[in-house]
């Protein structure tokens, strides 16, 4: 039952992804491996579209993954799966907001979960980087030089040049698309 599976897998994402939309990405690379619903390359495309369209990134990606896997009902199931745990948690803790905010146990748990979340996004990022450089490889599957150059240039620009730092990710993605077309990144 693909719809139920989508709901359950995304319920887990909603329960364990801490720190916003990108925190769902490590769960999705894991899903790509475990369920083979999509490849890491397709996942990267879905991240790009989700960053470039309105709406919270995590929700956008859930809809996209669900649609890719099982059409419109799949999109609805995955998205509902994602929002159910936070909705339940929100309803429970809204009565005890202050207690929750000042709880030592909660802040302790999050002092461990935040760096863990960052590490797992890093691991997912490394998976995406390796995939994107392999994917654009022209010669015998070696690391693609065009891709590597673009990656280094983008990294330096987005981290060290003030004007570029402030740009919305959409601009970076659009630039990537234009460069990809101009320099035949897919080799076609």
């Amino acid at each position: 039952m693909i719809y139920l599976l989508l709901f359950i897998e995304y319920f887990k994402v909603g329960l364990f992804a801490v720190g916003g939309g990108m925190a769902t990405v490590p769960f999705l690379t894991e899903l790509a491996e475990k369920r083979a619903w999509f490849t890491v390359a397709e996942l990267a495309d879905m991240i790009a579209v989700s960053e470039s369209t309105p709406g919270p990134i995590g929700v956008n990606m859930a809809t996209f993954v669900g649609f890719r896997t099982a059409g419109i009902p799949g999109a609805v199931c995955a998205t509902l799966g994602l929002i159910t745990p936070p909705l339940i948690i929100t309803i429970i803790i809204s009565g005890i907001l202050v207690t929750f905010k000042n709880s030592k146990t909660v802040s302790g748990a999050f002092s461990g979960m935040r760096p863990a979340s960052a590490a797992m996004i890093a691991s997912a990022g490394i998976t995406v980087v390796i995939m994107s450089l392999k994917n654009t490889a022209g010669l015998f599957g070696l690391v693609d030089i065009k891709g590597l150059i673009l990656m280094v240039v983008l990294f330096v620009l987005t981290n060290f040049v003030k004007q570029v730092k402030k740009l919305h990710p959409l601009c970076i993605i659009a630039a990537g698309a234009v460069i990809g077309i101009l320099f035949h990144f897919a080799g076609v």
Binding site: L15, V59, N60, R68, A75, K101, R114, A116, N159, G176
Partner: protein
């Protein structure tokens, strides 16, 4: 003070508008939430909103959904929370389904193929940049750095499920903080 306009449908619509006008989630959402909830509707004070937001970051799930849930619950109880949350996801569902359906017919087009090959390189950089920002914000001190390093190694080289790593990190955080707390007390004695 409560206006008659805060019906469930109104809640749904307002949060649908927020969902449709948010670009990129996270912090990009805060000014839009402030305008809609505090200034236009008077549904929440700015202080409450910042609280929702802070707690949204400290609870699992997408921050936008948490914020919608808190605001909805405050105004109309549990049905309100559900209406607001469904509102915030509604535009995403429609927009993404349309785009995904359109894209699926174009995957073999050479322009689209080249464009996405270029885009994938960008996505790698964007994900790594997210990590750098998170690192600057929340990976401070020996404990956090150790958790980061250990989790990165485990995530890269083992097949331990991501969810199990999150739970283990939470438990170790609770233990570490309670040990630190006790140490602090002993020193004071």
């Amino acid at each position: 003070m409560k206006k008659r306009s805060d019906s469930l449908f109104e809640l749904f619509l307002t949060f649908a508008k927020i969902g449709a006008t948010t670009f990129g989630g996270g912090y990009a959402m805060l000014p839009i939430l402030k305008r809609e909830l505090c200034e236009n509707r008077g549904w929440a004070t700015e202080e409450e909103l910042l609280d929702y937001y802070a707690i949204g970051q400290c609870t699992p799930g997408v921050i936008a959904v948490n914020t919608a849930g808190f605001a909805g619950k405050k105004l109309r109880g549990i049905p309100g929370a559900i209406a607001a949350t469904l509102g915030v996801i509604f535009p995403s569902l429609v927009i993404i389904i349309v785009i995904a359906a359109l894209l699926s017919g174009w995957t073999e087009n050479p322009y689209v193929k080249n464009a996405f090959a270029g885009i994938r390189v960008c996505v790698g950089v964007l994900v790594i940049n997210t990590v750098i920002n998170m690192w600057k914000k929340s990976v401070k001190g020996v404990f956090a750095i150790s958790v980061f390093d250990l989790c990165l190694i485990l995530a890269l080289f083992t097949k331990i499920p991501t969810a199990a790593l999150v739970v283990a990190a939470a438990v170790s955080g609770i233990i570490y903080c309670s040990v630190q707390g006790k140490k602090g007390k002993e020193e004071r004695h």
